[in-house]
Symmetry: C2
Subunit: 437 residues, 2 copies
């Protein structure tokens, strides 16, 4: 162990759920942290909005301050940990810390997904280290494995369950048969969903995380806005039951693939075969499935949120910074300035699940099949269920080009025999990454 000839002085920006968890663990795991870092670690100052706010873990008030100028200009601090969330004032504070030559650990996915390039450039210009393991997947180590363990491989595909709220809601709908709104309400009661769950439900939280994963995995600077997304609010319990009957679990997946010089990146509800490792990830757990050209399939699973899991990921970054404090260049990420060419969703190929409500009379299926055929959409399975004078057709397509499928969907809606198309969900097959090594 390198001799503790110095001390790692940490400043905390924000002290809510995650920040007070970091404070708690730095005190509680003092010995472990000193051993892993090769030097003692202490939090000397904490920036807060309101010193009297209730916190999940008690914090000694003598460390708290509401004066950002004072904390950010404190010369004794080596590393700032930013756990405020949101774009401003987090962005301004982070840039200021980096420009003073401080190292930065941030859990702020929104900030990185929108201003990652600016942050990485400021770090490189000032020989500072930026670490962000906690920004994706809470306590799950994923940034470090992508950057260094897989550093000698070409990453082909990423599929992640990176939002605990939507995974909890879908798991609950699936196991209890309850509808979206009751499942969401229960998640809110249990603290798995926020009072305003828009960012989770609509997929923009997952899109930010996917942009960060893509930036690291594919060595580009991707923003969350470049990710195509659909939320889970339209999913019906009947769809989940149909999926289960056909051997699929339904998850909100964040999916990215490298295709030559281009990348596809999308967040949408997806059916995956029940024997896929992601299918068993339920409740508020997260998992990131990665396919490397040489390493094959890997999956990283764990608690994707929560005070102490996220705080543990932050401490892991403290360890890595302390171990590399003599050579900060190892943490430069010049690639964040690389342009990122993201494919249009129209060009993607995937399988689709579709439910059609039709009038139950002879020749209906033929009409529908004709529309699919004319649009180059071929079908893997079709089940017709009679409901008196009406019928429901549940089908899954083979791999098709998105724009062909959407053209067929519009034409189908125009047919006199089709009353409605209540559900369209993408289906992820496992064939895609077999035999590509």
């Amino acid at each position: 162990m390198s001799s503790p000839d110095r001390f790692l002085n940490v400043g905390l920006l924000g002290c809510g759920t995650i920040g007070s968890g970091v404070y708690h663990l730095v005190k509680k795991n003092k010995k472990e942290l000193e051993r892993a870092c090769g030097m003692p670690v202490g939090i000397s100052r904490i920036l807060v909005k309101d010193p009297d706010e209730p916190r999940p873990f008690p914090v000694d008030k003598k460390f708290l301050s509401t004066n950002s100028e004072e904390i950010l200009s404190d010369e004794k601090i080596d590393v700032f940990i930013e756990v405020m969330g949101g774009i401003e004032p987090a962005r301004t504070f982070c840039l200021k810390a980096l420009k003073s030559g401080k190292h930065l650990i941030t859990a702020n996915k929104e900030l990185l997904a929108r201003h990652g390039q600016e942050i990485m450039e400021a770090a490189a210009e000032n020989d500072s280290i930026v670490m962000f393991e906690a920004s994706v997947g809470g306590g799950i180590p994923i940034i470090c494995p992508l950057e260094s363990s897989m550093g000698g491989d070409r990453i082909k595909k990423i599929m992640g369950i990176v939002n605990g709220t939507t995974n909890y809601v879908l798991s609950n709908m699936s196991s209890s048969g309850s509808d979206f709104h009751s499942a969401l309400h229960e998640a809110q009661k249990l603290g798995y969903a926020e009072a305003n769950p828009q960012a989770d439900i609509e997929g923009s939280d997952a899109a930010s995380k996917l942009a960060i994963l893509c930036s690291v995995a594919f060595q580009v600077g991707m923003s969350g806005e470049q990710v195509y997304r659909e939320g889970i609010n339209f999913i019906r319990p009947a769809d989940l039951a149909n999926a289960a009957e056909m051997g699929y679990a339904t998850k909100l997946l964040a999916i990215a693939e490298r295709d030559g010089e281009e990348i596809s990146a999308r967040v949408h509800p997806t059916m995956i075969p029940l024997d896929h490792p992601l299918a068993a990830v339920s409740g508020n757990f997260n998992a990131i499935f990665v396919v490397g050209e040489s390493v094959g399939e890997l999956m990283f699973y764990g608690e994707g949120a929560g005070s102490l899991p996220t705080a543990t990921a932050i401490l892991g970054d403290v360890v890595k910074i302390s171990r590399n404090i003599k050579d900060p260049s190892v943490f430069r990420r010049p690639y964040w300035s690389n342009p990122c060419r993201v494919k249009s969703v129209d060009e993607l190929t995937t399988k689709f699940y579709m439910v059609l409500e039709v009038i139950d009379r002879p020749g209906v299926l033929a009409k529908i099949a004709k529309v699919f055929g004319e649009n180059k959409v071929s079908l893997e399975s079709v089940v017709q269920k009679g409901l008196g004078g009406e019928a429901e057709i549940v089908l899954i397509t083979h791999e098709v080009v998105e724009k062909n499928f959407q053209a067929a969907r519009s034409e189908l809606l125009g047919l006199d025999v089709v009353k409605d198309i209540p559900s369209v969900i993408r289906v992820e097959s496992t064939e895609a990454y077999e035999g590509q090594r």
Copy 2:
């Protein structure tokens, strides 16, 4: 990116399945590797027993040599990659490389599980780095996450499926109902089991890997011989069917837990609930499930063997060494000299599954229950199945102390009503790590 003002010169010791995979990837992923390392990487010399041996990937013969003295004393080499396997001459070569101040990457689990302390001490004395990500779990990043990402947490428990052969055999027996010997034979035909599968089947391969995981997770020097082990050769298809009926999958698990200053470490067939993430790990995949006091449950999943997955893990170590070549102290592991107190298996507590063949007459169950009660073994479930004049009792105990259970087992075998106890398998419950944070 740090400017490539130098070149990383690699010497390969051994060039079989893994070694030729490393050679292949260093050539194929030249660009990725240079980017990740911040300098170009090249293999300059390769030590082999027989230059004409067939290899999975073609290797330019100009690099091959059978002269170990010459290669080991080559001053231009920065890093040796040892992929020979076995104890000698690998141990002598590794020590010699370290004593010349070279860095070492090894995939050799036997060597580390037996001589880890000697290797780590030689590295520390000579300011060399030792890396061994590929020694456990093939392509799965697990050593680095345990060492740095979880460096600020206290690791409580590890449960791993770390042997692909036994996992393939058990998965196959479970899905096809075939017996141990036919499943093993098929695994051999498909290349998932070696011609001499003793080390896999009897659990000593898994025990070596568990000793390495424990050393890193619990900061001690554990040897493979300190791990209690039972193999899978006694498992009957009927046991797997019973387990499935009761909601369990049967896996060869490597399990370690910290208990104050002591550690328990064991490898044995284990039933785990079907909804546990390890239950879905089938075929030749590996997975390591880790419970941290603060981070909670994590799981790392991937291909546990094979040329290119293992070679990818080795390249990840090359990346980490190149990034830290200026400060080798970050990779010292003084803890490998710490004594390791391993609990006797007699003191462990676990649940057990047991099958008793009994004579079917009144009062049998009462006699059996009396033996359990007198030995402080309480039962969670008992099912009696009549078979004409004989009957079979299938039971699962609550958590019991191993020595109490074994005492009951001996007494039961002495009862006149018990004809045989064909199966005893430990059952891992998920309750153990709930609410401990």
